[in-house]
Amino acid sequence: MRLKRINLFTILVLSAVLYLAAQVKADNADSKTAKTTEDKSVSVKSKSIDLPYYPPDFPPGKGRELFISRCGVCHSLRYITMQPDFPEKTWTKEVDKMIKTYGAHIDKKEAREIVDYLISIKGKAAEKH
Protein backbone atom coordinates (compact mmCIF):
# COMPACT_ATOMS: atom_id res chain seq x y z
CA MET A 1 0.00 0.00 0.00
CA ARG A 2 2.78 2.37 1.00
CA LEU A 3 4.78 1.38 -2.07
CA LYS A 4 1.77 2.03 -4.25
CA ARG A 5 1.34 5.52 -2.75
CA ILE A 6 4.96 6.34 -3.46
CA ASN A 7 4.58 5.11 -6.99
CA LEU A 8 1.51 7.22 -7.53
CA PHE A 9 3.26 10.23 -6.03
CA THR A 10 6.38 9.63 -8.16
CA ILE A 11 4.27 9.36 -11.28
CA LEU A 12 2.47 12.60 -10.44
CA VAL A 13 5.73 14.46 -9.78
CA LEU A 14 7.37 13.03 -12.88
CA SER A 15 4.41 13.98 -15.05
CA ALA A 16 4.46 17.49 -13.65
CA VAL A 17 8.19 17.82 -14.35
CA LEU A 18 7.79 16.45 -17.87
CA TYR A 19 4.86 18.78 -18.51
CA LEU A 20 6.82 21.80 -17.29
CA ALA A 21 9.87 20.80 -19.33
CA ALA A 22 7.69 20.51 -22.42
CA GLN A 23 6.26 23.97 -21.68
CA VAL A 24 9.73 25.49 -21.33
CA LYS A 25 10.78 23.85 -24.58
CA ALA A 26 7.67 25.13 -26.33
CA ASP A 27 8.30 28.65 -24.99
CA ASN A 28 11.85 28.58 -26.25
CA ALA A 29 10.67 27.36 -29.62
CA ASP A 30 8.16 30.22 -29.76
CA SER A 31 10.78 32.86 -29.24
CA LYS A 32 13.00 31.53 -32.02
CA THR A 33 10.64 30.16 -34.63
CA ALA A 34 7.21 30.98 -35.97
CA LYS A 35 4.19 28.89 -35.12
CA THR A 36 3.17 27.18 -38.29
CA THR A 37 -0.12 25.50 -39.08
CA GLU A 38 -0.46 22.81 -41.66
CA ASP A 39 -3.67 22.45 -43.57
CA LYS A 40 -4.31 20.06 -46.44
CA SER A 41 -6.06 22.78 -48.45
CA VAL A 42 -2.86 24.83 -48.79
CA SER A 43 0.63 23.56 -49.68
CA VAL A 44 2.55 26.23 -47.75
CA LYS A 45 2.23 26.46 -43.98
CA SER A 46 0.58 29.51 -42.45
CA LYS A 47 2.70 31.43 -39.94
CA SER A 48 2.22 33.25 -36.68
CA ILE A 49 4.69 34.94 -34.31
CA ASP A 50 4.61 36.75 -30.98
CA LEU A 51 6.68 39.92 -30.98
CA PRO A 52 8.90 40.64 -28.00
CA TYR A 53 8.99 44.18 -26.56
CA TYR A 54 12.00 45.87 -25.00
CA PRO A 55 10.78 49.18 -23.55
CA PRO A 56 13.75 51.43 -22.70
CA ASP A 57 14.16 53.49 -19.52
CA PHE A 58 14.21 57.27 -19.40
CA PRO A 59 15.53 59.57 -16.67
CA PRO A 60 13.12 61.58 -14.52
CA GLY A 61 12.46 65.14 -15.56
CA LYS A 62 9.74 67.57 -16.51
CA GLY A 63 7.80 66.22 -19.49
CA ARG A 64 8.92 62.60 -19.12
CA GLU A 65 5.42 61.20 -18.54
CA LEU A 66 3.92 63.29 -21.31
CA PHE A 67 6.70 62.20 -23.70
CA ILE A 68 6.19 58.53 -22.83
CA SER A 69 2.41 58.60 -23.14
CA ARG A 70 2.11 60.71 -26.31
CA CYS A 71 5.01 59.36 -28.37
CA GLY A 72 4.56 55.77 -27.24
CA VAL A 73 1.06 55.63 -28.71
CA CYS A 74 2.43 54.99 -32.18
CA HIS A 75 5.99 53.79 -31.82
CA SER A 76 8.65 52.36 -29.57
CA LEU A 77 10.52 54.95 -27.53
CA ARG A 78 13.67 53.32 -28.88
CA TYR A 79 13.14 55.70 -31.79
CA ILE A 80 14.53 58.28 -29.37
CA THR A 81 17.04 56.04 -27.60
CA MET A 82 18.83 55.41 -30.88
CA GLN A 83 19.13 59.07 -31.95
CA PRO A 84 22.31 61.07 -31.47
CA ASP A 85 22.11 64.41 -29.61
CA PHE A 86 20.40 67.08 -31.69
CA PRO A 87 19.96 70.87 -31.32
CA GLU A 88 16.59 72.29 -30.28
CA LYS A 89 15.75 73.18 -33.88
CA THR A 90 15.94 69.53 -34.97
CA TRP A 91 13.83 68.21 -32.09
CA THR A 92 11.21 70.91 -32.65
CA LYS A 93 11.04 69.93 -36.33
CA GLU A 94 10.72 66.23 -35.49
CA VAL A 95 7.87 66.72 -33.01
CA ASP A 96 6.21 69.09 -35.48
CA LYS A 97 6.46 66.40 -38.18
CA MET A 98 4.76 63.87 -35.92
CA ILE A 99 1.85 66.28 -35.40
CA LYS A 100 1.48 67.82 -38.87
CA THR A 101 2.50 64.93 -41.10
CA TYR A 102 1.32 61.94 -39.09
CA GLY A 103 -1.52 63.46 -37.05
CA ALA A 104 -0.18 62.73 -33.55
CA HIS A 105 -2.64 63.92 -30.90
CA ILE A 106 -0.39 66.49 -29.21
CA ASP A 107 -1.39 70.10 -28.55
CA LYS A 108 0.93 73.12 -28.70
CA LYS A 109 1.65 73.30 -24.98
CA GLU A 110 2.35 69.58 -24.81
CA ALA A 111 4.63 69.75 -27.85
CA ARG A 112 6.73 72.42 -26.12
CA GLU A 113 7.05 70.26 -23.00
CA ILE A 114 7.98 67.17 -25.02
CA VAL A 115 10.62 69.10 -26.98
CA ASP A 116 12.07 70.41 -23.72
CA TYR A 117 12.29 66.91 -22.33
CA LEU A 118 13.94 65.61 -25.54
CA ILE A 119 16.51 68.40 -25.30
CA SER A 120 17.18 67.48 -21.67
CA ILE A 121 18.06 63.89 -22.61
CA LYS A 122 19.32 64.17 -26.22
CA GLY A 123 20.08 67.85 -26.71
CA LYS A 124 23.12 69.77 -27.86
CA ALA A 125 24.09 73.30 -28.81
CA ALA A 126 23.17 74.47 -32.32
CA GLU A 127 25.81 73.80 -34.97
CA LYS A 128 27.57 76.78 -36.49
CA HIS A 129 28.07 76.82 -40.24
Binding site: D30, V44, I49, P52, D57, Y79, M82, Y102, I121, K122
Partner: protein
Protein backbone atom coordinates in the same frame (compact mmCIF):
# COMPACT_ATOMS: atom_id res chain seq x y z
CA UNK B 1 33.51 61.08 -6.57
CA UNK B 2 33.58 59.71 -10.07
CA UNK B 3 29.84 60.27 -10.32
CA UNK B 4 30.17 63.88 -9.24
CA UNK B 5 32.92 64.49 -11.77
CA UNK B 6 30.80 63.04 -14.57
CA UNK B 7 27.82 65.17 -13.69
CA UNK B 8 29.90 68.33 -13.37
CA UNK B 9 31.58 67.77 -16.72
CA UNK B 10 28.44 66.59 -18.42
CA UNK B 11 26.56 69.85 -18.89
CA UNK B 12 23.41 69.65 -20.96
CA UNK B 13 24.02 66.20 -22.38
CA UNK B 14 25.41 64.96 -19.08
CA UNK B 15 21.85 64.26 -17.99
CA UNK B 16 21.96 60.93 -19.76
CA UNK B 17 25.55 60.01 -18.89
CA UNK B 18 24.56 58.17 -15.76
CA UNK B 19 21.40 56.58 -17.06
CA UNK B 20 21.55 52.83 -17.33
CA UNK B 21 22.23 52.03 -20.95
CA UNK B 22 19.96 49.40 -22.48
CA UNK B 23 22.79 46.91 -22.77
CA UNK B 24 21.16 44.04 -20.87
CA UNK B 25 20.98 42.00 -24.03
CA UNK B 26 24.42 42.97 -25.16
CA UNK B 27 26.17 41.14 -22.36
CA UNK B 28 27.61 37.91 -23.56
CA UNK B 29 27.22 38.77 -27.22
CA UNK B 30 30.09 39.06 -29.68
CA UNK B 31 28.08 41.66 -31.58
CA UNK B 32 29.30 45.20 -31.09
CA UNK B 33 26.60 47.87 -30.99
CA UNK B 34 26.71 51.64 -31.31
CA UNK B 35 25.49 54.01 -28.56
CA UNK B 36 21.80 53.71 -27.74
CA UNK B 37 21.38 50.28 -29.35
CA UNK B 38 21.15 46.73 -28.03
CA UNK B 39 21.18 43.26 -29.47
CA UNK B 40 17.95 41.29 -29.37
CA UNK B 41 16.38 38.13 -30.68
CA UNK B 42 13.10 38.19 -32.58
CA UNK B 43 11.00 35.29 -33.93
CA UNK B 44 12.66 33.49 -36.86
CA UNK B 45 15.78 35.60 -36.28
CA UNK B 46 19.25 35.22 -34.86
CA UNK B 47 20.60 37.75 -32.36
CA UNK B 48 20.66 41.03 -34.33
CA UNK B 49 21.33 44.69 -33.63
CA UNK B 50 18.04 46.22 -32.48
CA UNK B 51 17.29 49.81 -33.49
CA UNK B 52 13.64 49.68 -32.41
CA UNK B 53 11.19 47.01 -31.23
CA UNK B 54 7.79 48.48 -32.21
CA UNK B 55 7.83 48.17 -35.13
CA UNK B 56 10.93 45.96 -35.26
CA UNK B 57 13.98 47.42 -36.98
CA UNK B 58 16.90 45.03 -36.83
CA UNK B 59 20.37 45.34 -38.33
CA UNK B 60 22.59 42.55 -39.63
CA UNK B 61 26.04 42.30 -37.98
CA UNK B 62 28.77 42.64 -40.62
CA UNK B 63 30.21 39.16 -40.12
CA UNK B 64 27.19 37.66 -41.88
CA UNK B 65 28.52 39.16 -45.12
CA UNK B 66 31.39 36.65 -45.09
CA UNK B 67 29.13 34.48 -47.25
CA UNK B 68 27.49 35.12 -50.61
CA UNK B 69 23.88 34.84 -49.45
CA UNK B 70 22.69 36.44 -46.23
CA UNK B 71 20.81 33.85 -44.12
CA UNK B 72 17.09 34.58 -43.61
CA UNK B 73 17.67 34.43 -39.83
CA UNK B 74 20.20 37.26 -40.05
CA UNK B 75 18.55 39.38 -42.76
CA UNK B 76 17.85 42.97 -41.65
CA UNK B 77 14.31 44.04 -40.78
CA UNK B 78 12.68 47.42 -41.32
CA UNK B 79 9.00 48.35 -41.01
CA UNK B 80 7.37 51.78 -40.93
CA UNK B 81 4.31 51.26 -38.73
CA UNK B 82 3.60 49.35 -35.54
CA UNK B 83 0.70 47.52 -37.21
CA UNK B 84 2.75 44.77 -38.81
CA UNK B 85 1.34 41.34 -39.71
CA UNK B 86 2.26 38.78 -37.05
CA UNK B 87 -0.06 36.07 -38.32
CA UNK B 88 -0.93 35.13 -41.89
CA UNK B 89 -3.39 32.34 -42.67
CA UNK B 90 -2.86 31.11 -46.21
CA UNK B 91 -6.39 29.74 -46.43
CA UNK B 92 -7.73 33.28 -46.40
CA UNK B 93 -4.78 35.32 -47.69
CA UNK B 94 -5.22 36.70 -51.21
CA UNK B 95 -3.10 38.81 -53.51
CA UNK B 96 -5.61 41.16 -55.17
CA UNK B 97 -4.79 42.66 -58.54
CA UNK B 98 -7.09 45.41 -59.72
CA UNK B 99 -7.43 48.96 -60.98
CA UNK B 100 -7.03 49.67 -64.68
CA UNK B 101 -7.14 46.00 -65.81
CA UNK B 102 -9.50 43.89 -67.85
CA UNK B 103 -9.93 41.08 -65.33
CA UNK B 104 -9.19 41.73 -61.63
CA UNK B 105 -7.51 38.77 -59.90
CA UNK B 106 -7.62 37.42 -56.38
CA UNK B 107 -4.87 34.84 -56.04
CA UNK B 108 -3.90 32.44 -53.26
CA UNK B 109 -0.22 31.68 -52.73
CA UNK B 110 -0.85 28.19 -54.12
CA UNK B 111 -2.38 29.65 -57.28
CA UNK B 112 0.66 31.89 -57.72
CA UNK B 113 2.92 28.86 -57.33
CA UNK B 114 0.89 26.69 -59.71
CA UNK B 115 -0.39 29.02 -62.42
CA UNK B 116 2.78 30.98 -63.20
CA UNK B 117 6.31 30.10 -64.29
CA UNK B 118 8.65 30.15 -61.28
CA UNK B 119 11.70 32.40 -61.55
CA UNK B 120 14.77 32.72 -59.29
CA UNK B 121 17.34 35.45 -59.02
CA UNK B 122 19.92 36.68 -56.52
CA UNK B 123 19.58 40.35 -55.60
CA UNK B 124 20.76 42.83 -52.99
CA UNK B 125 18.06 44.38 -50.81
CA UNK B 126 19.34 47.60 -49.23
CA UNK B 127 17.52 50.16 -47.11
CA UNK B 128 17.58 53.73 -48.51
CA UNK B 129 19.01 54.85 -45.18
CA UNK B 130 21.69 52.18 -44.81
CA UNK B 131 24.75 53.67 -43.00
CA UNK B 132 22.73 56.80 -42.06
CA UNK B 133 24.38 57.04 -38.64
CA UNK B 134 27.74 57.94 -40.23
CA UNK B 135 26.60 61.20 -41.93
CA UNK B 136 28.11 64.50 -40.79
CA UNK B 137 26.26 66.47 -39.62
CA UNK B 138 24.14 63.64 -38.22
CA UNK B 139 20.52 63.41 -39.37
CA UNK B 140 17.43 62.16 -37.54
CA UNK B 141 15.95 58.82 -38.64
CA UNK B 142 16.84 55.16 -38.24
CA UNK B 143 20.45 55.20 -37.03
CA UNK B 144 21.70 52.33 -39.20
CA UNK B 145 25.29 51.18 -39.45
CA UNK B 146 26.26 49.34 -42.65
CA UNK B 147 23.98 46.36 -41.89
CA UNK B 148 20.66 47.45 -43.42
CA UNK B 149 21.46 45.35 -46.47
CA UNK B 150 21.31 41.69 -47.44
CA UNK B 151 21.78 39.44 -50.47
CA UNK B 152 19.31 36.62 -51.09
CA UNK B 153 18.04 34.27 -53.75
CA UNK B 154 14.44 35.31 -54.41
CA UNK B 155 12.03 32.84 -55.99
CA UNK B 156 8.59 33.71 -57.22
CA UNK B 157 6.78 34.80 -60.35
CA UNK B 158 7.36 37.71 -62.72
CA UNK B 159 5.17 40.71 -61.94
CA UNK B 160 4.64 41.13 -65.69
CA UNK B 161 3.14 37.63 -65.91
CA UNK B 162 0.59 38.54 -63.24
CA UNK B 163 -0.18 41.85 -64.97
CA UNK B 164 -0.56 40.06 -68.30
CA UNK B 165 -3.03 37.62 -66.78
CA UNK B 166 -5.08 40.51 -65.39
CA UNK B 167 -4.82 42.23 -68.76
CA UNK B 168 -3.51 45.80 -68.76
CA UNK B 169 -5.92 48.29 -70.26
CA UNK B 170 -4.47 50.84 -72.71
CA UNK B 171 -2.73 53.91 -71.27
CA UNK B 172 -1.77 52.27 -68.01
CA UNK B 173 0.87 54.50 -66.44
CA UNK B 174 1.88 53.21 -62.99
CA UNK B 175 1.37 50.22 -60.71
CA UNK B 176 0.98 50.55 -56.94
CA UNK B 177 1.83 48.02 -54.24
CA UNK B 178 0.45 47.70 -50.70
CA UNK B 179 1.10 45.16 -47.96
CA UNK B 180 -0.69 43.87 -44.88
CA UNK B 181 0.95 46.43 -42.57
CA UNK B 182 -1.28 49.20 -41.21
CA UNK B 183 -0.51 52.57 -39.58
CA UNK B 184 -1.46 53.02 -35.89
CA UNK B 185 -3.61 56.12 -36.54
CA UNK B 186 -6.22 56.80 -39.23
CA UNK B 187 -4.54 60.14 -39.94
CA UNK B 188 -1.46 58.34 -41.29
CA UNK B 189 -1.03 57.26 -44.87
CA UNK B 190 -0.90 53.54 -45.53
CA UNK B 191 2.48 52.46 -46.88
CA UNK B 192 2.00 52.26 -50.65
CA UNK B 193 4.71 52.43 -53.31
CA UNK B 194 4.54 52.82 -57.09
CA UNK B 195 6.56 51.80 -60.13
CA UNK B 196 6.22 53.06 -63.70
CA UNK B 197 4.45 50.60 -65.99
CA UNK B 198 7.58 49.84 -68.06
CA UNK B 199 9.54 49.01 -64.93
CA UNK B 200 6.70 46.84 -63.61
CA UNK B 201 6.70 45.01 -66.94
CA UNK B 202 10.45 44.36 -66.96
CA UNK B 203 11.75 40.80 -66.68
CA UNK B 204 13.43 41.17 -63.30
CA UNK B 205 10.66 42.49 -61.07
CA UNK B 206 9.21 39.55 -59.11
CA UNK B 207 6.54 38.71 -56.60
CA UNK B 208 8.59 36.36 -54.42
CA UNK B 209 7.23 33.58 -52.22
CA UNK B 210 10.66 32.23 -51.28
CA UNK B 211 13.85 33.70 -49.91
CA UNK B 212 16.94 31.47 -50.02
CA UNK B 213 14.77 28.44 -50.79
CA UNK B 214 12.34 28.87 -47.87
CA UNK B 215 9.12 30.74 -47.18
CA UNK B 216 10.05 34.29 -46.11
CA UNK B 217 10.27 35.07 -42.38
CA UNK B 218 7.20 37.03 -41.26
CA UNK B 219 9.49 39.95 -40.39
CA UNK B 220 10.81 39.98 -43.99
CA UNK B 221 7.38 39.94 -45.63
CA UNK B 222 5.77 36.49 -45.50
CA UNK B 223 4.01 35.29 -47.57
CA UNK B 224 4.81 37.49 -50.62
CA UNK B 225 7.30 40.25 -51.22
CA UNK B 226 7.84 42.51 -54.20
CA UNK B 227 11.43 42.16 -55.49
CA UNK B 228 12.79 45.16 -57.40
CA UNK B 229 16.42 44.27 -58.21
CA UNK B 230 18.81 47.21 -58.25
CA UNK B 231 16.36 49.54 -56.48
CA UNK B 232 16.30 50.51 -52.82
CA UNK B 233 14.33 48.29 -50.43
CA UNK B 234 11.59 50.88 -49.94
CA UNK B 235 10.07 49.52 -53.17
CA UNK B 236 10.28 45.87 -52.05
CA UNK B 237 6.83 45.94 -50.42
CA UNK B 238 6.51 43.25 -47.74
CA UNK B 239 3.48 41.01 -47.13
CA UNK B 240 2.30 42.22 -50.53
CA UNK B 241 -1.49 41.92 -50.74
CA UNK B 242 -2.68 44.51 -53.24
CA UNK B 243 -1.50 45.50 -56.71
CA UNK B 244 -3.34 48.28 -58.55
CA UNK B 245 -2.79 49.50 -62.08
CA UNK B 246 -3.30 53.25 -62.53
CA UNK B 247 -4.10 55.31 -65.61
CA UNK B 248 -2.35 58.30 -64.11
CA UNK B 249 0.53 59.02 -61.78
CA UNK B 250 0.24 57.84 -58.16
CA UNK B 251 0.23 60.80 -55.76
CA UNK B 252 0.45 58.95 -52.43
CA UNK B 253 2.45 60.21 -49.46
CA UNK B 254 5.17 57.53 -49.69
CA UNK B 255 6.08 58.62 -53.23
CA UNK B 256 5.27 62.35 -53.19
CA UNK B 257 6.43 63.36 -49.71
CA UNK B 258 8.63 60.62 -48.28
CA UNK B 259 11.67 58.84 -49.74
CA UNK B 260 12.59 61.85 -51.90
CA UNK B 261 16.15 62.73 -52.91
CA UNK B 262 17.62 65.97 -54.27
CA UNK B 263 17.33 66.04 -58.05
CA UNK B 264 21.02 66.18 -58.95
CA UNK B 265 23.85 63.79 -59.86
CA UNK B 266 24.91 62.94 -56.30
CA UNK B 267 21.59 63.48 -54.52
CA UNK B 268 23.37 66.13 -52.50
CA UNK B 269 22.32 69.27 -50.65
CA UNK B 270 23.62 71.45 -47.83
CA UNK B 271 22.11 71.75 -44.33
CA UNK B 272 21.68 75.51 -44.78
CA UNK B 273 20.62 75.22 -48.42
CA UNK B 274 18.26 72.29 -48.95
CA UNK B 275 17.39 71.18 -52.46
CA UNK B 276 14.13 72.53 -53.84
CA UNK B 277 13.79 70.00 -56.63
CA UNK B 278 13.44 66.41 -55.48
CA UNK B 279 12.57 63.05 -57.07
CA UNK B 280 11.56 59.69 -55.58
CA UNK B 281 14.59 57.63 -54.56
CA UNK B 282 15.25 54.90 -57.13
CA UNK B 283 18.29 52.90 -58.26
CA UNK B 284 21.10 52.04 -55.84
CA UNK B 285 24.51 53.65 -56.33
CA UNK B 286 27.80 51.74 -56.28
CA UNK B 287 29.42 50.99 -52.94
CA UNK B 288 31.74 48.63 -51.11
CA UNK B 289 31.79 47.57 -47.47
CA UNK B 290 34.77 46.28 -45.52
CA UNK B 291 33.71 43.07 -43.78
CA UNK B 292 37.01 41.76 -42.45
CA UNK B 293 38.90 42.71 -40.27
CA UNK B 294 36.05 43.31 -37.86
CA UNK B 295 35.13 42.52 -34.25
CA UNK B 296 37.75 40.36 -32.61
CA UNK B 297 39.84 39.75 -35.75
CA UNK B 298 43.44 40.04 -34.65
CA UNK B 299 45.81 41.39 -37.29
CA UNK B 300 49.45 40.74 -36.48
CA UNK B 301 52.58 42.32 -37.93
CA UNK B 302 54.47 39.92 -40.20
CA UNK B 303 51.55 37.47 -40.43
CA UNK B 304 49.42 37.04 -43.54
CA UNK B 305 45.85 38.31 -43.23
CA UNK B 306 43.02 38.27 -45.75
CA UNK B 307 41.02 41.47 -45.97
CA UNK B 308 37.57 40.87 -47.39
CA UNK B 309 34.39 42.69 -48.21
CA UNK B 310 31.38 43.07 -50.46
CA UNK B 311 30.51 45.42 -53.33
CA UNK B 312 27.35 46.00 -55.32
CA UNK B 313 25.47 48.59 -57.36
CA UNK B 314 22.10 49.03 -59.08
CA UNK B 315 22.60 46.22 -61.58
CA UNK B 316 25.55 47.02 -63.85
CA UNK B 317 27.77 44.72 -61.79
CA UNK B 318 31.12 45.27 -60.14
CA UNK B 319 34.16 45.77 -62.40
CA UNK B 320 36.85 46.51 -59.82
CA UNK B 321 37.47 46.96 -56.11
CA UNK B 322 40.55 48.74 -54.77
CA UNK B 323 41.82 48.80 -51.21
CA UNK B 324 44.07 51.39 -49.61
CA UNK B 325 46.06 50.51 -46.49
CA UNK B 326 47.50 53.98 -45.99
CA UNK B 327 44.52 56.29 -45.84
CA UNK B 328 44.15 56.71 -49.60
CA UNK B 329 47.77 57.42 -50.64
CA UNK B 330 48.09 54.20 -52.63
CA UNK B 331 45.57 51.64 -53.87
CA UNK B 332 45.78 47.86 -54.38
CA UNK B 333 43.45 45.95 -56.67
CA UNK B 334 41.44 43.34 -54.74
CA UNK B 335 40.65 39.90 -56.15
CA UNK B 336 36.98 39.49 -57.04
CA UNK B 337 35.44 36.11 -56.21
CA UNK B 338 34.71 33.83 -59.17
CA UNK B 339 31.23 32.91 -57.92
CA UNK B 340 28.78 34.53 -60.34
CA UNK B 341 25.33 35.27 -58.92
CA UNK B 342 24.52 37.89 -61.53
CA UNK B 343 24.82 41.67 -61.57
CA UNK B 344 22.20 42.33 -58.89
CA UNK B 345 24.11 40.28 -56.30
CA UNK B 346 26.87 41.09 -53.80
CA UNK B 347 30.30 40.68 -55.36
CA UNK B 348 32.70 39.52 -52.69
CA UNK B 349 36.38 40.51 -52.85
CA UNK B 350 39.61 39.82 -51.00
CA UNK B 351 43.10 41.21 -50.61
CA UNK B 352 46.08 39.38 -49.12
CA UNK B 353 47.85 41.61 -46.60
CA UNK B 354 50.94 41.09 -44.49
CA UNK B 355 51.46 44.24 -42.44
CA UNK B 356 55.18 44.82 -41.94
CA UNK B 357 54.91 46.66 -38.64
CA UNK B 358 52.52 47.22 -35.76
CA UNK B 359 50.42 50.36 -35.45
CA UNK B 360 47.13 51.80 -36.66
CA UNK B 361 46.32 51.40 -40.36
CA UNK B 362 43.70 53.36 -42.25
CA UNK B 363 41.88 50.95 -44.54
CA UNK B 364 39.74 52.36 -47.34
CA UNK B 365 37.84 50.54 -50.08
CA UNK B 366 36.66 51.85 -53.47
CA UNK B 367 34.45 50.00 -55.94
CA UNK B 368 34.01 50.66 -59.67
CA UNK B 369 30.76 49.48 -61.24
CA UNK B 370 30.25 47.92 -64.67
CA UNK B 371 28.82 51.22 -65.91
CA UNK B 372 32.05 53.01 -64.97
CA UNK B 373 30.72 54.78 -61.85
CA UNK B 374 33.26 54.85 -59.05
CA UNK B 375 32.98 55.59 -55.33
CA UNK B 376 34.41 58.93 -54.26
CA UNK B 377 33.54 61.76 -51.89
CA UNK B 378 30.67 61.42 -49.45
CA UNK B 379 27.83 63.82 -50.21
CA UNK B 380 25.18 64.90 -47.69
CA UNK B 381 21.38 64.98 -47.81
CA UNK B 382 18.93 65.74 -45.00
CA UNK B 383 17.37 62.26 -45.01
CA UNK B 384 20.66 60.36 -44.86
CA UNK B 385 19.93 58.34 -48.00
CA UNK B 386 22.19 56.62 -50.53
CA UNK B 387 25.42 56.77 -48.57
CA UNK B 388 28.22 55.47 -50.80
CA UNK B 389 31.31 57.60 -50.24
CA UNK B 390 34.67 55.92 -49.65
CA UNK B 391 34.71 54.87 -45.99
CA UNK B 392 37.81 54.70 -43.82
CA UNK B 393 38.23 52.14 -41.06
CA UNK B 394 41.06 52.35 -38.56
CA UNK B 395 42.56 48.93 -37.91
CA UNK B 396 45.06 48.24 -35.14
CA UNK B 397 47.92 45.86 -36.01
CA UNK B 398 49.75 44.26 -33.08
Amino acid sequence: MLLAATVAAGGLTGACTNVRQPDDFQNGSIIKVRDGLSVARFPEKEELIMLTDRPPQLETPLFYYRQDLTPNEAFFVRWHFSGIPTSVDLRTFRLDVGGHVQKPLSLTVDELRQQFEPVSLVAVNQCSGNSRSYFTPQVPGGQWGHGAVGNARWTGVRLKDILQKAGLKPQSMQVTFAGLDEPPLYSMHKFVKALDIDHANSDEVLVAYEMNGEALPLLNGFPLRLVVPGWYATYWVKSLAKIDVLRGKFDGFWMEKAYRIPKNANASEMPENLAKDTVPINKMNVRSILVRPDLSDLVRAGKPFEIEGIAFDGGSGIAKVEVSLDGGNSWNVAKLDNADYGNFSFKRWRLAWTPTSAGNYKIMTRATAGDGKIQGLQYWNKSGYMRNGIEQVEVPVV
